[in-house]
Point group: C2
Chain length 320, copies 2
């Protein structure tokens, strides 16, 4: 174990050996403008969403991906907006976006929402109200500087952008929440050992050696944004591992909340682990009936987190 | 080399060791109905499109993916329809679909095509004509039984569906074209050696052993659909390999056409390799100006293939 851990590079080394994404400068300027546009007591949340890719080739034909459509993140972003938060939405390109999410991943495609009536092309009557609401919300929040969208594709893009945004919002302290719902790869191929061209299949089997990604939660909590309220996620498929891993993360990184969830029940049930409730995590769950009726578990989850965030803000104010 | 090749399992073994997709029965029935609805001289094309995934875990959190948005396939499907073909579109779930493709992968989302005018939610005037045309085309071709959509996600889904469709259309002989534009993985992890649960990162590095996928073009050409007109694709990033690999595929499998293209110029330039033109492949190319003006290379490519397909049909009729 000790031997293995020594092979994990530290986060700074990772940044030294990888190139920043092309939108890093743009993201810096936009986030800077965005936070300056907020009132002094505005609560802000950084929501990360979707999976990161790990390219197997420099001229990328193949990549390792993490399963995530971005449902949790995009739905939660809507809830945070409804609760008065300003939202920086750091999302995987082509994953679900707030308000657009109800239409973009429909398997029948966008045109299935349209019809031709009396020669005119229009939205089907049954969709008019919902699409109208979503459009109004999307435009309102964007125009009022309450929603900023920043996109990534690769693991490296994500990590550079996460650090950049963290350092920018850090000075705002406790009123910033991190809601780290993105499915971030645990393994990567160092860029110097990437294949330059498409890996050829004629030579038989393929063996891929991947290195462990350094745990960026550590510098995030310790150095980048030490005063902020940080919520991380733990997704597992083996129920035996869920509690121990959530507790281990809290101890190791010292942040505020771990949301633990199982792959196959994540839409119905999540557990909130905190230092104080490490052995008795709060459970948030909804029924199949609720889900069928269009209710999302993110509504309850975000309400609960906003409540705890408010307590955190109050308690840090009292300490001043 | 010989040693390596012996490690590649044969296609039948692959099917014995993997489970069929849940939509296989549905696809069988739909394709059967679709081809029975065609007139006796109707030309039919099977277009495959998008990339296949290879899960790294049985409870899938991670997978290896092939870069492909489905642009070539979805755009070509539209061209085949315009030229009078009936199209079976075998595509990766969430990849681009014919007619819907212009709206679904827009980075600003679906709602960016809408506006509210006088309280009414409607399509922006600048998009009305184009969306109207696409909707009319999509509905016309679907209702007239000229377009059938069948979706896959994993490599295994794709291979089962490809075999099923091939065996169904094979009896129609030369008037069926295969246009195999999907980006199919060359490597897979046998299901018996898949990790049951999410791979844990605490133990250090990750080494993945992947086996070579058997070359399904061989049984497709030889056994499944020996009388059909088969077009395969070769995508490379190293220009030195493109010609040799295209010629090698033609020799090895004995089918009709290999479309060769380079990752970074595939929207401007493709080469058509045939047995007769193995050393002098036909080049199809368009300029940046053409592309900017909304012209796609698939228009020229599909026209050329339809012409060659017609010659193929005529020559096989003369042999009868």
């Amino acid at each position: 174990m000790a031997l293995d851990m020594r092979r994990v590079i530290d986060p700074d080394t990772y940044f030294d050996h990888n190139s920043p994404p092309t939108n890093l400068g743009w993201a810096h300027d936009e986030v800077d403008k965005f936070i300056k546009a907020q009132s002094p007591d505005q609560r802000i949340v950084l929501v990360t969403s979707g999976g990161t890719t790990v390219p197997l080739e420099n001229n990328t034909v193949r990549f390792v991906d993490n399963f995530s459509a971005g449902t949790r993140g995009s739905c939660s972003a809507e809830q945070f907006l409804a609760m008065g938060y300003a939202v920086i939405f750091l999302y995987r390109e082509q994953s679900l976006q707030p308000f657009n999410r109800n239409y973009s991943h429909n398997t029948k495609g966008v045109l299935s929402f349209l019809e031709r009536t009396n020669g005119q092309i229009r939205i089907k009557p049954e969709w008019e109200e919902k699409m109208g609401q979503d459009l109004d919300n999307y435009q309102k929040y964007t125009q009022e500087n309450k929603l900023l969208m920043v996109n990534f594709t690769t693991l490296s893009d994500y990590l550079f952008l996460l650090r950049e945004v963290s350092l920018l919002v850090a000075s705002l302290g406790p009123r910033v929440m991190f809601y780290l719902a993105a499915a971030v790869s645990d393994f990567f191929i160092p860029s110097h050992s990437l294949s330059e061209h498409k890996i050829q299949s004629a030579t038989g089997d393929l063996t891929l050696h991947m290195n462990q990604v350094p745990k960026f939660l550590r510098p995030l909590v310790k150095n980048w944004a030490p005063l902020c309220f940080i919520v991380s996620f733990k997704l597992e498929t083996d129920p035996e591992l869920l509690g121990p891993k959530a507790r281990h993360a809290l101890e190791k990184y010292g942040h505020q909340v771990v949301i633990a969830n199982m792959l196959h029940t994540r839409k119905f049930q999540v557990w909130l682990f905190t230092k104080e409730e490490a052995m008795r995590p709060a459970v948030i769950q909804i029924s199949q009936d609720d889900l069928d009726a269009g209710r999302d578990i993110e509504q309850d989850l975000v309400e609960e987190l906003a409540r705890r965030h408010q307590q955190y803000i109050s308690s840090t104010l009292q300490q001043d």
